[in-house]
């Protein structure tokens, strides 16, 4: 990686941004918190917290059901939230945005619904070697049920998908391809536009797992031409328990409902049910209304800063931290792709990630240790787990300095 020539830190007023996140001022184990576990979940700005607070204090009612004022107001607010997400992803229609409880639920919805009509015995589904368990298990289970075959795109030592091998995996039995946009463990940004183009040249739909991508980069689903794109609210500085399944209108119309019940119907008799139009046919039961409102507030917040500035600043943090970590004796970075976001996984020779994580926590530094829900990837690298530092735009170089200094102290304690 090459050093950026100009500093982008000046583009963002980090001090003002940090003041928007109340949790960043708290202490952990007597030390100022340094939060480097953004890949697991991101912290929430006060505007998101306020939106949720206002909803419960002043707006609470059920949506799509009542004639009374509160219900009508909140229905409008919830549908506005959907439109905010539509615009953020540049989706063609608001009804292509289906609210779910998160990425995992979105993948489960799609896998289950897609399989009902489109997967037969002997069919094939392609995922990659760097998927999160949430984008492996739903497909794996489906393959077991339908006697279909799960094929895996291999990766290089650097942690990049091997596209030539991907092309060889495609056959006339391939029914869907589900690949992550950005690896949660390695930080690799995958060439999804290329993958989608290759798949579409053979009329195969593609689902992109965007859980790790949306906090770091702008996503334009029309430009990508992906058939489905899924992500969670909580990694995007929004609330937990809310997520999105974007699907092209033609696909969502074609797919049968996943869970059924209240809110998903037009008419019900004991003989037959006529289902509602998009997106309601996929949204059974009362949704996480506060979640949807909070997620829209989070999107508004990051758009006031600007994802381009965020990406440039985070890239600077990535280079700075990579450079500092590489100087530590015995430390090995796992995942050295050319295109990466601000996620660094590493191991230290002879030491267990759990020990390092435990001691870092004692000194107020939150990192993730373990297999990061990517056990097949850990098996590929032959490690039981890694330590992962993942940065957001509210993190600073000073925090990275403190982290590196503390890490060296921890290594000395353990050796």
């Amino acid at each position: 990686m090459t050093e950026l020539k100009t500093s982008t830190s000046l583009l963002l007023n980090i001090e003002a941004i940090r003041a928007d996140f109340p949790i960043l001022s708290r202490k952990v184990n007597g030390k100022q918190l340094i939060y480097f576990d953004n890949g697991a979940t991101a912290q929430k700005p006060v505007s998101v917290i306020d939106a949720i607070d206002t909803y419960y204090k002043n707006q609470n009612a059920n949506i799509h059901r009542g004639v009374h004022t509160l219900s009508q107001e909140i229905t409008v607010a919830y549908e506005n939230a959907r439109t905010t997400i539509q615009k953020h992803l540049n989706a063609k229609h608001a009804h292509e945005i289906v609210f779910t409880s998160g990425t995992t639920a979105s993948v489960n919805l799609l896998a289950s619904s897609f399989a009902k009509k489109n997967i037969q015995a002997g069919d094939e589904i392609i995922i990659s070697a760097m998927e999160h368990h949430s984008n492996i298990l739903p497909w794996q289970q489906l393959c077991e049920e339908k006697d279909a075959l799960l094929k895996i795109i291999p990766i290089s030592k650097e942690g990049e998908l091997i596209i030539d091998e991907f092309e060889k995996l495609i056959s006339n039995k391939t029914k869907i391809i589900a690949v992550t946009h950005i690896s949660n463990t390695l930080g690799t940004i995958n060439p999804i536009k290329k993958i989608i183009a290759i798949a579409h040249s053979k009329n195969i739909p593609v689902m992109i797992d965007g859980a790790q991508a949306v906090p770091h980069t702008a996503v334009d689903v029309q430009e990508l031409d992906c058939d489905f794109y899924v992500f969670s609210g909580h990694k995007l500085f929004g609330p937990t328990g809310v997520g999105v399944l974007y699907g092209k209108e033609k696909w969502l119309n074609e797919l049968p409902p996943y869970q059924v019940g209240g809110g998903t119907i037009k008419t019900v008799t004991f003989e037959k049910t006529e289902y509602a139009d998009l997106p309601l046919k996929f949204e059974a039961g009362t949704p996480h209304i506060a979640g949807g409102i909070g997620l829209a507030a989070a999107i508004d917040y990051i758009n006031t800063i600007g994802l381009e500035k965020i990406a440039a600043y985070e890239h600077e943090l990535l280079l700075y931290a990579t450079d500092a970590l590489q100087k530590i004796d015995g430390l090995k970075i796992i995942g050295t792709a050319k295109n990466k976001v601000s996620v660094i996984s590493f191991i230290v020779e002879g030491l267990h990630p759990f020990d390092i994580g435990t001691l870092l926590d004692q000194m107020g530094i939150a990192v993730r240790t373990g297999h990061h829900c990517t056990q097949p990837l850990m098996q590929f690298y032959g490690v039981p787990g890694t330590i992962r530092a993942s940065f957001a735009f509210y993190n600073t170089k000073q925090e990275i300095d403190e982290f590196v200094k503390t890490l060296m102290r921890v290594i000395n304690m353990l050796k």
């Binding site: 267990h352 990630p353 759990f354 020990d355 001691l359 004692q362 039981p384 304690m413 353990l414």
Partner: protein, 139 residues
């Protein structure tokens, strides 16, 4: 010494430390000096799977008392395992079943007992007690 006496002894030891650093350094030392489990007992069925660190534990009954040996791939976990063995090993199954193990809280290591994706310490204590129940049932 009874289990409670050993627990009290450990609590006193830990009280001498001024800060968490020293407590963890002590745990790390305990982990490093702990006699290993015999390689032949480090088998899949002796493995207590924690999400992050793993513990192998073996127990046998000698003269009516249970002797535990164990190992872990993480050194802090190993230190905690060493403490557990020091407290429980060489006691009768009934004494082990009845033990309260309050010392963990008193030495400030309770957070390692949270039933989360951490280190398998809770599973290890359960396994040690389950072994004791099994031996008690046999005798």
């Amino acid at each position: 010494m009874t289990i409670e006496e050993i627990e009290n002894e450990i609590v006193e030891e830990f009280e001498m430390f001024e800060d968490w650093m020293q407590r963890y350094e002590h745990l790390i030392d305990l982990g490093k000096s702990m006699p290993m489990i015999e390689e032949k007992n480090k088998t899949e069925d002796k493995l207590i799977k924690g999400c992050q660190s793993q513990v192998w534990m073996h127990s046998e009954l000698k003269d009516g008392k249970i002797v535990y040996t164990a190992d872990s791939d993480a050194i802090i976990t190993k230190g905690m395992v060493a403490l557990m063995i020091r407290v429980l090993s060489n006691h009768t199954p009934q004494e082990i079943i009845d033990s309260k193990l309050d010392f963990i809280e008193k030495i400030g290591l309770t957070k390692h007992l949270s039933p989360t994706r951490s280190n398998g310490l809770l599973s290890m204590i359960k396994q040690m007690k389950l072994d004791a129940i099994a031996y008690a049932a046999k005798s």
